[in-house]
Subunit: 194 residues, 2 copies
């Protein structure tokens, strides 16, 4: 089994990477969904919830929940495969890695774990975040910088700096998609060979 | 005046970026030289010295010394220009930025300050570091990882994650050189227009 993690600061283009994976039939687990679902229940913003969840259940809660989800998906897939209905390579994506501790957990649980980092300049990311209207994306520079700082405090910079793949996303989404498709196809091939 | 900072983990290819700048007649100030010169005097490794210098003179000592150097270079250049012997754009490079605090100092001192980050995968960087024989580069994985962690502790990951340019350096130096040359030429042009 192979797991590809995706990391990047807000507005860098993580979700574009997930979309490419989905199109290649790679199941995607979004760390943000764990947080967003919990936030909705408690009527908090995702940002507040990310901090709160970690305070309540420890640094590793989101990562641990994602590990369980991926293992469950893989179990189901194996069952389906035993019945002869599935022969795709066992490859999964986890979107939204924020800290080196999370990377450690994934490395401990998945023998073949790699990280793709998406980088865009702060200027480009701010423009994208402004265009979006998700509840946790404010249009102000100060809020954008505050969010960046919160992510960096989790250690996302360390995850980005030591990533196995760095994809730069300054131009149109099309270009990013084609680069990511290349990386994922290559990883899928390597997986089916092993 | 425009100043371009260069950041990247050990073995990423920072010095290739400096070499391109030098070829374009952009003066380069290497933060590592401040440390290496001091280390030689005291008979310590550069790594030990980096930590020690900051302990003795504070977080900002290396950055502050670089600011002085760049300002001195620019003064001399202006003098030369007044005498009519120099009309190149006023652009400088500082190689080896390690922490967001250093970025803050540079931003405070230089109105037009941008960061280029060089990224290579840990695997590639390790191979390069092994090939080198600088005193502070050990051939062991454990030493390589120890060095990475020391750099990340300074906050280099944050500097990389929020860089204005991200150049990926997995292939031959030739490719990196051509990308960097494009960036720098563009920056030089923008400078002479302003």
């Amino acid at each position: 089994m192979k797991v590809i993690g995706v990391t990047g600061l807000p507005g860098s283009g993580k979700s574009v990477v997930s979309r490419v994976a989905k199109n290649l039939k790679i199941p995607v687990v979004r760390m943000g969904d764990v947080i967003r679902n919990e936030a909705k229940k408690r009527n908090l913003t995702s940002g507040e919830m990310a901090v709160k969840l970690r305070e309540e259940y420890g640094e590793f809660v989101v990562a641990e929940r994602c590990v369980s989800t991926v293992k469950r998906l893989d179990k189901n897939r194996k069952k389906a495969k035993d019945k002869g209905s599935n022969s795709r390579p066992r490859i999964y994506m986890i979107e939204g890695i924020r800290s080196p501790y999370e990377v450690e957990i994934f490395e401990k649980n998945f023998r073949d774990f790699k990280v793709i980092a998406v980088h865009s300049t702060p200027k480009t990311r701010f423009k994208r975040v402004q265009k979006r209207n998700r509840a946790d994306d404010s249009g102000k520079v100060s809020e954008f910088q505050r969010r960046d700082k919160r992510e960096l405090k989790f250690g996302i910079g360390d995850v980005i700096a030591t990533a196995d793949y760095m994809v730069v996303n300054e131009g149109p989404a099309k270009k990013l998609k084609s680069v990511v498709r290349g990386i994922l196809k290559n990883e899928m091939q390597n997986d089916s060979q092993s």
